[in-house]
């Protein structure tokens, strides 16, 4: 299956260069650091990890996730290997899926490497491990959404830096959109209907419910459809560029 071949190639490429390692190390340092400092992990004594640990993830992802995704199509277009991919007997869609899954796998590894905090919390207290698992799922889905957006942007440009900046801007907007403090300020300026429209673009509502351990279909559908639309858009942009 060509998706699998592309997936293997991209994943090997990520781990053959310093990029993946640097991002994983920085993510681990930030997530743990924030949990123990601003998250007041020890003082709060809450074993659920909801506010001390998972809360920081969207904030970290909005800056770091695009760093993993920025090279996906920008590099191919810059080095000319897109011409190779375009003349191989594979569909654009299988290349998109393969690349997306490779980037998502890098982040999956990063998330899995945070296991020490789960062990810690199980040792120190009596957490609901199901909720923690749902929290990880929520984190992963937020990350995948940001990666899909980055992939869409990377199809538009040859320049990785432009891709990074634009993707970060979009992801920051999505994180701010649903955030309580921000919506409170917004509610003072616009109608409630407008506020709700803006909030629906934000990740918080869906992320928070997964964090609490609720596995709602609407959250999975929201994340899933966002990712799907971005990947579809990537396919459209790549075709349009050649027409």
């Amino acid at each position: 299956m060509t998706s699998l071949t592309i997936y293997k190639r991209e994943l090997t490429s990520y781990f053959a260069q310093p990029t993946a390692y640097a991002i994983i190390v920085i993510f681990l340092a930030l997530s743990m650091g924030l949990a123990f400092s601003f998250g007041n992990f020890m003082r709060v004594g809450d074993a659920s990890l909801e506010w001390t640990f998972f809360f920081w993830h969207p904030w970290i992802f909005m800056l770091l996730a695009p760093a993993v995704g920025m090279k996906l199509w920008a590099d191919e277009q810059r080095t000319g290997t897109i011409e190779l991919l375009g003349t191989f007997p594979l569909s654009t869609w299988s290349a998109i899926i393969g690349k997306f899954l490779a980037a998502a796998s890098v982040w999956l590894v990063a998330l899995l490497l945070t296991f020490p905090i789960v062990i810690t919390v199980n040792y120190l207290g009596d957490p609901d491990n199901g909720a923690i698992l749902a929290g990880y799922l929520g984190s992963f889905l937020v990350c995948c959404t940001f990666l899909a957006i980055t992939m869409l942007v990377s199809a538009c440009t040859r320049d990785q830096v432009v891709c990074l900046i634009v993707s970060v801007a979009i992801c920051v907007t999505m994180v701010l959109c649903g955030y309580d403090d921000f919506t409170r300020e917004l509610a003072k300026a616009v109608s409630p209907a407008a506020v709700e429209a803006v909030v629906s673009f934000g990740v918080w509502d869906h992320f928070r419910s997964l964090n609490r351990g609720l596995l709602r279909l609407q959250d999975l559908v929201w994340f899933g459809s966002f990712v799907f639309v971005c990947l579809l858009g990537t396919s459209a942009i790549l075709s349009a560029k050649r027409a």
């Binding site: 071949t5 490429s13 260069q17 897109i82 190779l84 003349t87 007997p89």
Partner: protein
Amino acid sequence: MIEVENLTKQFGSKCAVDNLTFTVKKGEVLGFLGPNGAGKSTTMRMITGFLPPTSGDARVCGLSISDDPKAAKTKVGYLPESAPLYHDMTVIGFLKFCASIRGLKGAANKTAVERAIETCFLGSVARQSIDTLSKGYRHRTCLAQALLHDPEVLILDEPTDGLDPNQKHEVRQLIKRLGKDKAILFSTHILEEVEAACTRAVIVDCGRIVADGTPAELLAQSGSGSLTDLFRRLTTAEVKLKSES
């Protein structure tokens, strides 16, 4: 094996390829000559399925590139002009990846890669990372990728570009050898390659064919026995026409 019918490509208002029609049969090596910007690379990109044509069609082994691209692409080995490669892979890693994409698995994959490495003289650099290779080796690695699945049709865009005289000779001999049972279309603006490797040649200018024949026929057409004269007469004439209007 390659049938191009009224192939046209417009980029906005600019017509890069204008109603091109030609065929390449099995056992033929067609040289695609023309000045820069004549539309050679664009034509090749359309035949290989990278660019969709504005109108017209190209068929490879009877399979239309517009209607059945995936099947048509399996029949073609393509060497793009820039010889693009993944710089973070080794030569052998890259070729294994390409062979995998082509559907070759396990032992078939290994054999195909070994054969391609041997054909393109990459044995001494097989385990090196691509970004450490010289231009000649990079070009040959990209050529090797085109040969992996032993395609019936080869489309090579300036295959001797940037190679030293020894390497040029090797590649021309390779094209001649492969041309005996494949249909090969290769572009160049080195006119001596026409006599060295082609069974037929076509000169394009501004997206249109301005000459078509065997090397002997073209030499006769030139009047002076020189392809360069024929080339300059046919292609500069178009330039004169444009400046007059």
